[in-house]
Symmetry: C2
Subunit: 384 residues, 2 copies
Amino acid sequence: MDTDDLIQCTTFGFEETASDGAARTGVVETTHGTIETPVFMPVGTRGTVKAMRPDELKEQVGAQIILGNTYHLYIRPGLDVIELHGGLHEMMNWDRPILTDSGGYQVFSLEELRTIEEDGVDFQDHLSGDRHFFSPEKVIEIQETLGSDIMMAFDECPPADASEEYMRDSMARTTRWEKRCLQARTRDDCALFGILQGGTDEALRREHADALCHLPFDGFAIGGLSVGESSDAMYDTVEFTTPMMPRDKPRYLMGVGTPQDLVECIARGIDMFDCVMPTRNARNGHCFTSDGTIKIRNAPYTEDMAPLDAECDCYTCSNFTRSYLRHLYKSREILASQLCTLHNLVYYDRLVERARRAIADGAFAEFRRRFYENRGQTPPESPA
Amino acid sequence: MDTDDLIQCTTFGFEETASDGAARTGVVETTHGTIETPVFMPVGTRGTVKAMRPDELKEQVGAQIILGNTYHLYIRPGLDVIELHGGLHEMMNWDRPILTDSGGYQVFSLEELRTIEEDGVDFQDHLSGDRHFFSPEKVIEIQETLGSDIMMAFDECPPADASEEYMRDSMARTTRWEKRCLQARTRDDCALFGILQGGTDEALRREHADALCHLPFDGFAIGGLSVGESSDAMYDTVEFTTPMMPRDKPRYLMGVGTPQDLVECIARGIDMFDCVMPTRNARNGHCFTSDGTIKIRNAPYTEDMAPLDAECDCYTCSNFTRSYLRHLYKSREILASQLCTLHNLVYYDRLVERARRAIADGAFAEFRRRFYENRGQTPPESPA
């Protein structure tokens, strides 16, 4: 495609600042400020990171960037309302960067309610049943209206068990869609990332990377993982895919993952992550700690006077016992969700912060060893 | 009764600091600090004021004292757990005063599950169905274990439609129970308030006040209101009851009420209030404002870019629109409960704060006039 006339983002930049094996640190520049990578992005599906005030997220979690979901925001409150506010940042009172997905993932998951055409996807929304049409042009228009710092291209994320024929057709269509996204941009202050598909097959990944990585996207994401494949398959795929991606642009692994997934995929060259796990699990009383996961509802915590995580200095761990948190959870008190969400997000943020420091110090292997040691686990095989 | 051998609270005190008509300001001294009255006490039923972090409650609401519910805490997490923490303050990380009810109100409301005897009340709890027995001695023991700054005596709160015969029997038993509460105390750092019953009947109120007000309680509450009677009947009852209560002790109106109820009952000499209304209503999207109540779910707020209350400087009103709050509420986001609860509690706190200032300035009538003017309402008849 002719890329000369394409609108480019003038506010976006990326610089790798250190590396240790395949792991690396970097700085991403966006319209709403800089981000140090590797970074974990809390998910704010409907214009709120569930159970968190934005000032908590900023001052206590230290979140550098959050993710918003195009599909959910388009359906409710709708673009008119968000536009009236002047964009998503202003509506939700978040002045740091926001990355938005394209809505493709949610639309494709509405299996019975959607039909795929070359032009885009026709679907009925899950709330009103109204019909909508998402095309590459439409999702760029929506994300520009949201005022996203980093927009994602419109892609199809095929299921893990898709046939190779389906995968190839889907990838080819996704390539055409992503090119249309590049052409659809009208704002020069919203970056746009391409998404690489290809499942867990190295040849398919190579093919899709070759088709897209020379195009003027501001960064690239690995899509199509965390969709049911094994951890090993995911780690292997990340390991052979990151070298196919441009070194001078951020690498984002979509929808991942557990703390271990973060450590292993940072080790394999990933810069950016997002996942609902720390927030969703918190609301179910699953808390991440240095020693592993705690299910706070369990009886052994009834009289446990320890904090959730003795190594954590968050508000929750500084002020409350496991016993009290269990009481709140069993009593279905909102404060349980607030306190566990805060802790889990702090846990994720500190994990990537320690990873950044370790990479800068050339001590990532030691960081990784300790991560498993604290949990009493044997590390999986190191990346080659 | 012989009061010479009774344990008295050595840390409690009350001083009236100003008056304007029947309205007055005062200072209450407790083990966990001083309280300026009139005061509104947010309700923290199960060891949490729902949807509020204790630091928000302290620093942003400015709550001087909160209320805990003996029945609920006794059932879950239970006294063993609270005792392990060193008391309710420590468990919930609240270092300001706590007032606890006696549990009587909840136990009596378990109509089918309880039987009243002279010694106390036998009941099955609503969670496990286990049998328990609350007596005056037991509820003092529980409240001392909680470490309450202000304990409430064990009383029966008869329904608004109780016969005069039932009322007289109940009042006489309540008098005997309250005396036993005085005798049951073992701690000299937990104050104890008596509760005056008598429904809306002036003669009965007089009778019960005469029976109890000479006893060495640290303060007195008006119980048996806000149980279904009209606002006028409540205001009249408060008006003729407060003069029966000692001027040198705090006067607490239990379970009241709306912003108007607070204004009218402060005008009639009440010092302390508690009610679930600001917190419960917030979770249902009912928000209190200078102009009256807003039901945030309603369609007119869909594109309303104003804050909840233009005269409020709380975090919610400083940072978010009604439109966004409506979106959060419609999306059942926890943040809706957090932001609306914060605002409603700030509204209540600022209302009593302004009342205190008006009383100190001898301008309570003007404060009251403006309260109704802002809402476009005609004030009810002034207290005599």
